[in-house]
């Protein structure tokens, strides 16, 4: 297990040596998207239209933050459950997405897509939302304001603490961790 500092946009060189279980401190711009925004992004791709942000090397954070108070950069902003985005994720990796951030395991199809196209999946600690907000230094809605908490935001993060769950070799930290502590007879 190692700790690696990374800055977005990510390249294959950045993620090639990451292993499930490594810690990552992520800095740079990342984009928020959850269920409703994913539906719209995939529709744009299918229609051959431009996306509201460049997918090449991008990192998507599955989050719908609480609204900020006046003068507050970001209110609580922990990860949402990732499997709901699984049906959209292969296509996004095909189009250049390098990493997603969420909580909970991914489908076999998403894991395969990450191996095939060079991508990783990071876990943030679900429910640790107020703490995660302190790593977010700037936030701006860049698309789909009508979706409220589900709008796409550009977040500038500084040393956001993450765990590598799925690496480009196809390893899975959920499987590894659970196998180690399972005592079922």
């Amino acid at each position: 297990m190692k700790t690696v500092e990374l800055t977005t946009p990510l390249t294959m060189d950045d993620i090639r040596d990451l292993e499930a279980g490594d810690k990552v401190l992520l800095s740079g711009d990342i984009y928020t998207a959850r269920d409703a925004a994913h539906k719209r992004l995939v529709q744009l791709i299918e229609e051959g239209k431009d996306l509201p942000f460049d997918l090449e090397g991008a990192v998507i954070y599955y989050v719908g933050p609480a609204p900020s108070r006046p003068g507050q950069v970001m209110n609580s902003a922990g990860p949402t459950t990732s499997y709901r985005m699984d049906t959209f994720t292969r296509l996004l990796h095909e189009k250049g997405l390098k990493a997603s951030i969420g909580k909970g395991p991914r489908s076999v199809d998403v894991r395969n897509a990450m191996v095939e196209h060079g991508g990783v999946y990071f876990a943030a600690v679900g429910g640790a939302a107020a703490g995660i907000a302190s790593a977010i230094k700037a936030a701006e809605v860049i698309a789909y304001e009508d979706l409220g908490p589900e709008a796409i935001r550009r977040l500038t993060v500084e040393k956001m603490p993450l765990f590598v769950v799925n690496d480009v070799q196809g390893r899975d930290l959920f499987e590894i961790g659970v196998a180690q502590y399972c005592r079922e007879s």
């Binding site: 279980g21 409703a36 989050v63 719908g64 933050p65 609480a66 609204p67 900020s68 108070r69 507050q72 209110n75 609580s76 902003a77 922990g78 949402t80 459950t81 499997y83 909580k103 909970g104 395991p105 876990a123 600690v125 679900g126 429910g127 640790a128 939302a129 107020a130 703490g131 907000a133 302190s134 979706l147 409220g148 908490p149 589900e150 603490p161 765990f163 769950v165 930290l173 959920f174 590894i176 961790g177 659970v178 196998a179 180690q180 502590y181 399972c182 005592r183 079922e184 007879s185």
Partner: protein, 281 residues
């Protein structure tokens, strides 16, 4: 007969929305602190510490513990000697939710049409409201915001008498196994037994309101809870699902009589941000 203006209900609901989302109930905090001592996985310990640190940050900054401030679930126990004045009771509850979620800067997570349009209502209403009429001249309001991630891992199953208590145990353990890291473990597992299709789901939800660490009033089901907790923690799912000995903080069972043909079982999963609070008017 005691007259209570529904504006008092609005005020109480508003205050509960804000306080429960920022200040986690003491029973949950204690259970997580205890888990930090017993957890064997170094990564699991680290995650538990992150969760505990988050409680402190949320309270110091007045931020919600979790960004998912939930569907607003409100249990009303209205004394039958109370006369509610000044307007519609459910409107008063929803107004409290509206004000609480706005003034507390809490996330608005409700969509008006559940399937087709899914447009956000913008104020976290409507609340899910359950009202009971009981003897007395008080109004008790219990507020339990429920996040979507854990709620999605819940399930009702109409089992048969032949499947018995072993069938129930296997179903509960399997439901937790299939949930894995999705519902933000360590979780609280609420189990409703008996009643009818919808009643057992209500029982499972109500069982989550029992403070962690308090025993089941029924000895037999108390033993079942202990066995289930051990089996669930032997799954190895652990904090955040990344492996460890703390998958659940507690299993709570609530049971009522049921039909001779039926054995309804409901499992309602609660994330580690187990939020609930109550006010008596």
């Amino acid at each position: 007969m005691r007259e209570i203006d529904v504006a008092e209900v609005t005020r109480a609901v508003k205050d509960l929305c804000i306080s429960t989302n920022i200040h986690l109930a003491p029973d949950t905090k204690k259970a997580l602190r205890d888990a930090l001592v017993t957890e064997e996985s170094p990564l699991g310990k680290e995650i538990l510490q992150v969760i505990l640190d988050n409680h402190g940050i949320a309270e110091a900054e007045g931020m919600p513990v979790c960004q998912d401030t939930g569907v607003a679930i409100v249990f009303l126990e209205v004394g039958q000697d109370v006369h509610l004045t000044g307007g519609d009771l459910e409107d008063a509850v929803n107004e409290g939710v509206r004000q609480g979620y706005r003034e507390g800067y809490l996330r608005k997570s409700m969509v008006a049409d559940p399937v087709i349009e899914r447009k956000n209502t913008g104020d976290n209403t409507p609340a899910v409201i359950y009202t009971r009429i009981l003897p007395g001249e008080k109004v008790k309001i219990t507020f339990a915001p429920k996040g979507g991630g854990a709620e999605n891992m819940s399930e009702v199953r109409m089992m048969t008498a032949a499947q018995g208590i072993e069938g129930v145990k296997d179903f509960v353990v399997d439901r937790v196994r299939r949930s894995g890291g999705n519902p933000c473990p360590p979780i609280v597992v609420g189990v409703g037994l008996g009643g009818s299709f919808e009643r057992c789901a209500m029982l499972a939800k109500e069982s989550l309101l029992r403070p962690i660490g308090t025993p089941n009033p029924d000895k037999v089901y108390g033993e079942v809870e202990k066995e289930l907790l051990e089996r669930i923690n032997n799954l190895g799912i652990g904090p955040a699902g990344l492996g460890g000995r703390t998958t659940a903080l507690a299993v709570h069972i609530k049971h009522v009589p049921c039909h001779i043909a039926s054995m309804p079982v409901a499992v309602n999963i609660q994330c580690h941000a187990s939020r609930h609070g109550e006010t008596i008017i």
